[in-house]
């Protein structure tokens, strides 16, 4: 074969492409996070707008079967406690201007956790662990009023709607990228935005609870007692990491109580009602062990 043939070396175009791969990732990621944030903002805004407009009876139809399945308190004491909690709740509801079709049902749970939550259909669950740590009825009423305020503002419905919508968005993004890797990162951005919304809800519920407590008890000392219990229970609560918490930092909530009281002319201190009857028997205030 003739010597005139040759294969010249190929120019190296591919490897020496312009731009650093890490820069490429940074640009792509910020784009994805921006898109995720816009998605969430739009969804959260529209769901928050729609949720209060859905008739409350739909919520009840959805939630009642679940709470009917809950075993009613078996022993007499638990039954009496639930009745007592409902009596406190009734007094608060009377002071809270709930819509006509809205109803609140308080349930007592034997669990030892320091917690309470409001669910769909006006169902509120109060745990034994919370009642045991309450110094007086005012503080317990503050919790119940906080949860009633969540129901009043239709927060459980809004949260459910957001959760469903978020899952939908993430699965769509997951499908379009076709890998589980990207939606983890994409998922982190909306979750952070949702925490912000969740904190807004808590502040709204605190404000509603304060108003109710001031009306029923004549002062908002119960709110302060309640937040001090939280402060003692979680002395290691991260400072400055508020962006990552569902609830506002306790010290800030205490401050909010003081400033609202000053604005509305509520007394911040007054006579506390001791816990009585079936709630008193269990309320052996003890040193927090954690």
């Amino acid at each position: 074969m003739s010597r005139s043939y040759e294969n010249p070396p190929q120019p190296e175009q591919v490897e020496t492409g312009d731009g650093h791969p890490l820069l490429e990732v940074a640009i792509l990621l910020s784009g994805v996070v921006a898109i995720g944030a816009v998605f969430v903002a739009v969804i959260a805004f529209s769901v928050t707008w729609v949720a209060p407009k859905v008739p409350f009876r739909f919520e009840r139809q959805l939630a009642d079967p679940f709470f009917e399945e809950r075993k009613p308190p078996s022993d007499k004491d638990a039954f009496a406690r639930e009745r007592e909690l409902r009596a406190i709740a009734d007094r608060l509801v009377a002071a809270m201007d709930l819509p006509r079709d809205m109803s609140v049902t308080v349930h007592y749970d034997q669990g030892p956790v320091l917690n309470a939550f409001a669910s769909l259909g006006g169902h509120i669950v109060i745990y034994r662990g919370l009642i045991e740590r309450m110094p007086n009825e005012d503080a317990l009423a503050a919790v119940i009023a906080h949860e009633i305020a969540h129901v009043q503002h239709r927060h459980p419905a809004a949260s459910l709607g957001r959760g469903v919508a978020m899952a939908l968005v993430l699965s769509v993004i997951g499908m379009s990228t076709g890998s589980g890797i990207a939606d983890r990162v994409v998922g982190a951005a909306p979750n952070r935005a949702l925490l912000k919304f969740s904190r807004d809800q808590e502040e709204e519920a605190d404000a509603g609870a304060m108003r109710a407590i001031a009306r029923v008890y004549g002062h908002v000392g119960g709110m302060q007692d309640l937040f001090r219990v939280f402060q003692d229970a979680r002395p290691d609560a991260p400072r400055g990491a508020q962006f990552l918490l569902t609830h506002p930092v306790t010290a800030e909530r205490l401050q909010a109580v003081a400033s609202s009281a000053a604005r509305e002319g509520w007394a911040t201190d007054g006579e506390r009602r001791p816990l009585e009857g079936p709630l008193k028997k269990m309320n052996h205030t003890r040193e927090p062990t954690c």
């Binding site: 043939y5 791969p21 890998s179």
Partner: protein
């Protein structure tokens, strides 16, 4: 930030995998490119043609089929960049280098085969490629490239 990482151990795992993919992947890629360039110089004497027939030659030559194939896997970092890239479009640069390496490695293996058989040129060179993806969603993307052609072998005198 550290509190966030402590609360999300799976995110830490993800970051570690990403870092391993990035550093190990880049090290492997640059080592492979160095090796490719060295062997391309060594085998530059074996000529490669896309034409179907060799030019008319005086000496009668024998021909034989030669081929070379390689499978190269992407890494966690490439996979992550690619999954983001799918949303926006644009150059899949991380995969361009992957395929470039695979093509050149396959050619080198084909040329080595030709050299072993005493050949001095390969005609009618063609490429085949196959996507070896293990598992459907989130699986590892690996690619096979096969290069083959007709080696020209001069008879021994």
């Amino acid at each position: 930030m550290s509190a966030f990482l402590l609360q999300h151990p799976d995110f830490v795992v993800f970051l570690v995998l990403l870092a391993v993919g990035y550093f190990a992947g880049r090290a492997a890629e640059s080592a492979h490119y160095r090796s490719i360039r060295r062997r391309e110089r060594q085998l530059a004497g074996i000529l490669m043609f896309a034409t179907k027939f060799p030019p008319a030659v005086q000496v009668r030559q024998t021909t034989t089929l030669v081929s070379g194939s390689v499978v190269i896997s992407s890494d966690y970092f490439k996979l992550f960049v690619a999954s983001l890239r799918k949303l926006f479009g644009g150059r899949f640069r991380v995969y361009e280098t992957l395929l470039d390496r695979a093509r050149r490695e396959a050619v080198l293996r084909m040329k080595r085969e030709a050299l072993r058989l005493g050949g001095h040129a390969v005609f009618n060179v063609k490429f085949e490629t196959f996507n070896v993806t293990m598992g459907a969603r989130g699986g590892i993307a690996a690619v096979e490239v096969l290069a083959y052609g007709t080696a020209l072998i001069e008879p021994k005198k």
